[in-house]
Amino acid sequence: MSSFHDTVREAIYSTIVSTGAAPSAADVAGLHGADIRDVEAAFRALADGHVIVLHPATHDIAWAPPFSAVPTRYRVRIAGTTWHAPCAWDAFGIPAALHADAVVEATCAWSDEALDCGVVNGRASGHGVIHLLVPAAHFWDDIFFT
């Protein structure tokens, strides 16, 4: 990745951490005085590198893992701020990325019961298991299904 791609990546994550929403390519271009086409190309390169996930056939960010820019069934609360995670694994990824304890608000895929779990004093807390359907080698074949 080029340094410009790193700049764009940092802008994406900075925004989603601080607001819960992903910036548009125009937002990042305006922030850095860059050409929007260069930012869109960087978005595409980051997506091709499996760093972010774009909505199909757009330059709109769906996920900057472990953060989701769209609502999901996995909500993560840290010190009064809530983010959405793309999946159960990433629900633990948010406190890992932010180096903080967290409350994970999720529901059981079978029963829809609320699951009480999270990270307390730097350790996982709660009960349950995470069921992954897609083998690791195929995670990115259809990341929205994974």
Partner: protein, 61 residues
């Protein structure tokens, strides 16, 4: 689990405990916000999986 998979017509995948999810997340995402972040290579990813006990066919890359 069997009933859940049968109801959706999918094969059972792999299970991960919450402790494994947290350990994996710390190793996978702990530097995600760092200026020098880069995605793990294939071998690094396999080593991370193995270090938290995620081994076997499901976790091959």
């Amino acid at each position: 689990m069997k009933r859940w998979c049968a109801a959706r017509g999918v094969a059972r995948g792999a299970l991960m405990t919450l402790d494994q999810a947290w350990d994996l997340s710390r190793k996978w995402y702990g530097n995600r916000l760092a200026a020098d972040f880069r995605r793990p290579t294939r071998d690094e990813a396999l080593a991370i999986f193995a270090s938290v006990g995620l081994t076997g066919e499901f976790w091959r890359l």
